[in-house]
């Protein structure tokens, strides 16, 4: 699925109930993170649920695996990964993630005060883009 397809899918959902149900479904479809990665080095701090992010690099592209013990957070992570996976560091830096979340209608979840880990996760991805 592309981001544009995702935005379109969300545009068919009128209520927050349907959006959240779809988010949960997206999370369930995400490839599972091997248990061995669910350890401190991969944990994203500052969240009210546990969130993990594991980067890797192939040629000049970054790949990410992620997971959370909370279902809605996991769905949000799947969107973040869809946005950032398989991009070069400079492409990662250029992404306007706020705009994408606004188009999806989930902008409130990117707010730093929400502490659901999404904001911290995006910051971490951008940090990896700098150092990897």
């Amino acid at each position: 699925m592309t981001i544009d397809e995702l935005i379109e899918n969300f545009s068919f959902l009128d209520t927050w109930e349907d959006k959240y149900r779809y988010l949960i479904e997206l999370g369930e479809k995400m490839p599972p993170l091997p248990e061995s990665y669910k350890t401190a080095p991969w944990q994203v701090k500052g969240c009210q649920s546990q969130v993990w992010l594991v980067p890797s690099k192939e040629e000049d592209r970054l790949h990410f695996l992620g997971d959370s013990d909370a279902a809605i957070v996991k769905g949000l992570i799947s969107i973040v990964l869809l946005i950032y996976d398989n991009k070069s560091p400079s492409e990662i830096k250029a992404v306007a993630v706020d705009d994408i979340f606004a188009k999806i209608g989930l902008k409130e979840h990117l707010s730093p005060s929400r502490r659901n880990g999404l904001e911290a996760m995006v910051a971490k991805i951008r940090q990896y883009a700098d150092i990897l």
Partner: protein
């Protein structure tokens, strides 16, 4: 008659809807909403009566100094202290406890001593003692709570000894809702020669505090939880104790005489109030405490006890919901988890239904872990909550269950 619907009208925030739903505020244990008279009083001070305190060579300063000192007297009345000199204004309960640790702790604790706290302490009444322990080398003992969240008196007696110099203990757990048997704890501690600091952050919101009757040595609470403003807290201390303690911070307003060579310090409470205090906040706090006293704290307690019993009953009917902290006589703080739903996910859905609860470890991470969890949801009551609030919460939890 305690007319809660009428009382709700005193709180402007409840006129607002949240996500298009009624504002079901169940996070008063984190911070309470403010009655309009507190907001008006503070506005009025800034609009008409503002100046610095204790600098009074002109009318405005004299008036506000008098209002500030009257606020102290109101706090004295609220906790039933012997004298307003036993009331120190701080920034928060956190600062009150840190003040005792830094001032009393540094002067009176030695490496061979012991400090006793409970498993149910907020980080604010745990971390200052850990840090001081690492510095001084005393032993920090931790007495247990039972699996239902009640206080384990037997374990307390076991860990209390003649080496114990301080018992620092919460009056009411901000996670479990348990109300600790303070009088018994304080009597036993005094019999061993230990001083007692009570963290009354939660207790002061729900019950009348009487420091004379309790005979505690120190007591701390925060203004923002007792329906007052942020940025103001209280430390009560027995006068002889306060008088035996060195300053906590140094600067203006807390000195007696100053030369380039030497300074002598003022008597309590001024000794502990260096610099310009939170003047308007102190006056706002007094207004909030007067509001509580005018409603009648016993009436508030009765109302909240009724709601607590109702909530416990309603929760017990939700399949898969586990209440954490079920001690007899507990107050209106309900931590819980629901099978198959992460507390964070639950909070997302409750929020959409206009219900404010908090999730996480509630600044008591070791306690939440000891109860067997890493994160729990918490609903907590204030004097303005209603049965309808509980019903809306229960309905929202049941709705959340359909998502997972």
């Amino acid at each position: 008659m305690y007319d809660v619907n009428k009382i709700r009208e005193d709180f402007p925030i409840f006129a607002l809807s949240i996500n298009g739903k009624p504002n079901t505020f169940l996070d008063s244990a984190a911070s309470a909403q403010k009655p309009k008279i507190v907001i008006d009083k503070m506005n009025d001070m800034y609009l008409h009566e503002y100046a610095n305190v204790h600098r009074g060579s002109y009318l405005l300063s004299e008036e506000i100094t008098s209002a500030f000192e009257q606020a102290r007297a109101t706090v004295q009345k609220f906790v039933n202290a012997s004298s307003s000199s036993e009331i120190v204004f701080t920034r928060s309960a956190t600062e009150s406890i840190n003040l005792v640790a830094a001032s009393w702790g540094h002067k009176f604790l030695k490496a061979s001593d012991e400090v006793l706290i409970s498993e149910a302490e907020h980080h604010a009444n745990l971390v200052p003692w850990q840090v001081l322990r690492d510095e001084i080398g005393f032993k920090l003992n931790i007495c247990r709570v039972n699996d239902d969240g009640s206080f384990d008196m037997e374990d307390f007696r076991k860990k209390l000894s003649s080496k114990t110099k301080l018992v620092a203990i919460t009056g009411m757990s901000n996670v479990l809702g348990t109300i600790f048997p303070l009088k018994e704890i304080i009597n036993l501690a005094h019999a061993k020669g230990a001083k007692v600091l009570v963290d009354a952050c939660q207790l002061a919101v729900h019950q009348k505090i009487d420091v004379k009757d309790l005979d505690c040595d120190f007591l701390a609470f925060s203004g923002h939880k007792t329906y007052g403003p942020t940025g103001i807290g209280v430390l009560y201390g027995k006068y002889e104790l306060l008088d035996s303690m060195p300053p906590y911070q140094c600067g203006g307003d807390m000195v007696d005489t100053v030369t380039y060579e030497h300074t002598t310090f003022d008597i309590p409470p001024a000794r502990f109030e260096a610099g310009t205090p939170a003047i308007v906040e102190a006056i706002g706090l007094a207004e909030a405490l007067k509001y509580l006293m005018s409603l009648g704290q016993d009436n508030i307690t009765t109302h909240e006890n009724e709601l607590t019993a109702y909530a416990i009953k309603q929760f017990s009917q939700i399949k898969g919901l586990h209440q954490i902290g079920t001690a007899q006589g507990k107050g209106g703080v309900f931590s819980f988890v629901v099978d198959g739903i992460h507390p964070q996910d639950l909070a997302f859905i409750l929020d959409k239904e206009g219900v404010a609860v908090r999730v996480g470890h509630h600044c008591a991470a070791p306690l939440v872990k000891r109860m067997g969890y890493s994160s729990v949801a918490r609903a907590s009551l204030g004097l303005y909550n209603t049965k309808e609030d509980i019903d809306i919460l229960v309905k929202a939890i049941n709705k959340a269950k359909t998502f997972f």
